[in-house]
Symmetry: C2
Subunit: 293 residues, 2 copies
């Protein structure tokens, strides 16, 4: 294909490293050729594929739902209450209903909620350059998977459609569900019990469990993605690691530490420097951040 | 396709129910048409896709490995020790090594171990009629998934190749893994902690987690598969439920209760009668059980 498949990327070394990698692993005559069944790519979501500032969409959803349920809370209260307050909020807002009911709640919320700065639905705060990358990889025989710290059920209410990947490739944190024969027939009820928090060293374990093979491309943006990128880098195939660096206060946000959960970027940026991973400098590398409305 | 795609099935009502179902859901002019993305089929493994008698292959593997490790045990001892003895055996034989090392162990064992009655490698005790069914479904636009009570890592050492499904569609019970940077680089170490036992009401939860949609076809053989079949039956699409009934002492085994774990068939056969699910009478419905050697 001769047309530029990454039009929202400036012609910087970052773009060239991506295009060259994809060309090398898909060219049967290249020494770096990777058979299609091994072309697995994994992506973090919050801050890697869509805007996570000023507050994670799922946390806004939980705060809105808590108010609806008659238990209003606020970001300040949650930050003061730490992890215990967060777990309590998740138990209140993400449990005691069926998976079908929860999916409806998420879809309804997503249809009406707007990002406070950009004034658009959260699914329209996905990064246009990353959508183009997902498309390029899909057309190049890759299977793209999402491994998010966010909840799987929340993610699947929108991410499959937005990113063009099947539901089974959208993975996140997991709460236990219980099977029961309800009034309307067999159903799964969400429980407050957290089975997996899909962050940090858990991400390679989740990839092993859900994919069953080692990826050759991984993209993340915080230290919580470091293990995923390390795991991928150790593939016997040629690999590519991408780190989205938030340097663009004008068009999005500039930050190195997430103000809500406190996850930083020191370790992943140091590892990127050590191993020549590709750091995406949002301000310099992206011609646009979000799609035009 | 006019050629018989299920040659190892006798021309009984069982075969006709399968062929008619597949034709109906794949015919765009049928009122029962199901779009390809919703054609998900789920299969139990032990006793549904391969022979589970006289002893589950994975249990034989564990007993053999315990002996190698200098901790010999026996089936009698395990039965006397109940679930606690089983958990201890799994911790001894399935943990403390990397996922790559465990995969090697499984593959080596599978290459040399032989089924005590049939004298062939365990992967050659898969049911030829079920292999034909998996092939028919694959050619008909279905995604076939395995949801086994056996361990995911043990299953993936052979099941993907034998059943012709990608690794991510081979799911079973799961032990936790821990990411570490070892001498040879990043690796996952198997721990003795069991995260999920993929049986009974857990099966719908596992399907929700791994597939993210409700199947339209489910096949099992014991009460441990009942919830999976119930979950599938409640799809808004037309569905098919298959129960493999072990009625063939001559060519395989005739039993209703598994002698090792004690799982029975009372509930699933009662549900099959109640809901007109398709019971596969192995002796009457299958022209052959295993492939000729």
């Amino acid at each position: 294909m001769s047309a530029d498949q990454l039009p929202s990327w400036h012609g910087t070394p970052t773009k060239r490293s991506i295009v060259e990698f994809v060309a090398a692993v898909t060219d049967p005559d290249s020494p770096d050729f990777v058979p299609e069944r091994d072309r697995v790519a994994v992506f973090d979501n919050d801050g890697t594929l869509w805007t996570e500032q000023p507050v994670y969409a799922q946390l806004v959803f939980a705060i809105d739902r808590a108010a609806e349920l008659g238990h209003p809370t606020s970001l300040d209260k949650l930050q003061a209450g730490g992890m215990a307050a967060l777990i309590e909020l998740v138990a209140l807002t993400h449990a005691g209903i069926t998976t079908a009911e929860f999916d409806d709640l998420c879809r309804n919320w997503l249809a009406s909620a707007r990002h406070p700065r950009f004034g658009r639905p959260y699914p329209q705060t996905v990064y246009q350059p990353m959508l183009e990358l997902l498309g390029l990889l899909d057309r190049s025989g890759f299977s793209c998977w999402i491994f998010s710290g966010g909840g799987t059920d929340f993610m699947r209410a929108w991410a499959g459609d937005v990113y063009g990947v099947p539901q089974h490739r959208v993975i996140g944190s997991v709460g236990e569900t219980e099977f029961r024969i309800g009034a309307g027939g067999p159903e799964l009820v969400k429980t407050p019990k957290v089975q997996v928090i899909d962050d940090g060293p858990q991400k390679p374990s989740s990839i092993h469990r859900h994919v069953g093979q080692r990826p050759i491309l991984a993209a993340g943006n915080t230290d919580g993605d470091l293990a995923m990128l390390q795991w991928t880098a150790a593939s016997p195939h040629r690999t590519l690691q991408l780190v989205v660096h938030h340097t663009d206060a004008e068009r999005e946000y500039a930050y190195d530490v997430d103000p809500i959960l406190g996850s930083g970027t020191d370790q992943i940026l140091a590892a990127a420097a050590d191993h020549q991973w590709t750091v995406i400098d949002m301000a310099a590398d992206w011609a646009s951040v979000h799609a035009a409305t």
